[in-house]
């Protein structure tokens, strides 16, 4: 650390982060408890899609025929969230 870097450190030594509020647990809890309901929703969608197809004049669609559609939906939900994917770094973030 050179002399100038010490100056910056001294500058930061005279400030602190403002106090932040807590209280996020109820929201987080509701959301982490929501996974099962997401699966149930997907299951519920399954016959709903079938009924829609029937109502639209399509011939009876068996559960087996809808399986690829359900699988695609499932993969979309699972692959969309990947918190560990390496994101591009912020170095090029020039404004």
């Amino acid at each position: 650390m050179n002399e100038n870097d010490d100056d910056i450190a001294r500058l930061f030594a005279r400030v602190r982060r403002p106090a932040c509020e807590g209280g996020r647990w109820p929201i987080v809890r509701a959301r982490i408890g929501g996974r099962l309901s997401r699966w149930l929703l997907l299951l519920a969608l399954f016959p709903a899609v079938r009924l829609l197809l029937l109502a639209g004049g399509f011939p009876a669609v068996s559960a087996l025929k809808l399986a690829p559609l359900a699988l695609a939906g499932l993969l979309f939900v699972l692959l969309r969230v990947n918190p560990f994917r390496v994101e591009p770094l912020l170095a090029g973030d020039e404004r």
Binding site: V15, P18, F84
Partner: protein, 173 residues
């Protein structure tokens, strides 16, 4: 309960144990998200999303490691995703406040200067100077080599000096 025990219990599916981790780190996480996003609502969303992501991934977490550095990677990714395609940042929150009343102007100068920096500069300066993390720890947090951290720190300090107002510059002289 400590972090390790909480993580072990979370890995066993005990949701209440996660409360301990959320309540322990939510303020720090929010401050970090705010430094990246400069927007209270976006930072709140990023923190909540990151805690949900972390819960879902906690079985893959090695409990012998510290929780927050691992969580920070998730939070940071959430913040970066949130930044994509957004209109210019709204400046509605303070990043730093004076430690003593006589430093109020200085804190104002520093706050304004930090906001004008690219998010990466702001992140590295606050991790190093406000949180007191060493170069190695910063490198681990943001996933780059130590040499890169040093070079980015140097650039960030130069840009900060350029952006400082009169009180801040006075302090540097």
């Amino acid at each position: 309960m400590d972090d390790r025990e909480a993580v072990e219990r979370c890995r066993a599916g005990e949701r209440e144990a996660y409360r301990f981790l959320v309540e322990r780190y939510e303020r720090e996480a929010f401050a970090h998200a705010l430094a990246l996003l400069l927007n209270r609502a976006d930072a709140e969303d990023a923190v909540q999303d990151a805690f949900v992501d972390a819960w879902r991934a906690i079985r893959r977490f090695d409990p012998s490691r510290r929780f927050y550095p691992w969580f920070y990677v998730i939070l940071r990714n959430r913040c970066l995703k949130s930044r994509r395609g957004r209109s210019p940042e709204r400046l509605d929150d303070t990043l730093v406040v004076a430690a003593a009343p006589e430093d109020r102007d200085l804190a104002g100068d520093l706050d304004r200067a930090l906001r004008k920096l690219p998010a990466g500069d702001r992140e590295i300066l606050t991790l190093h100077n406000l949180d007191g993390l060493g170069v190695r720890e910063v490198a681990a947090r943001i996933g780059v080599p130590e040499g890169t951290v040093m070079s980015r720190l140097s650039t960030a300090r130069r840009r900060l000096r350029e952006q400082l107002g009169p009180r801040g510059r006075e302090m540097l002289e």
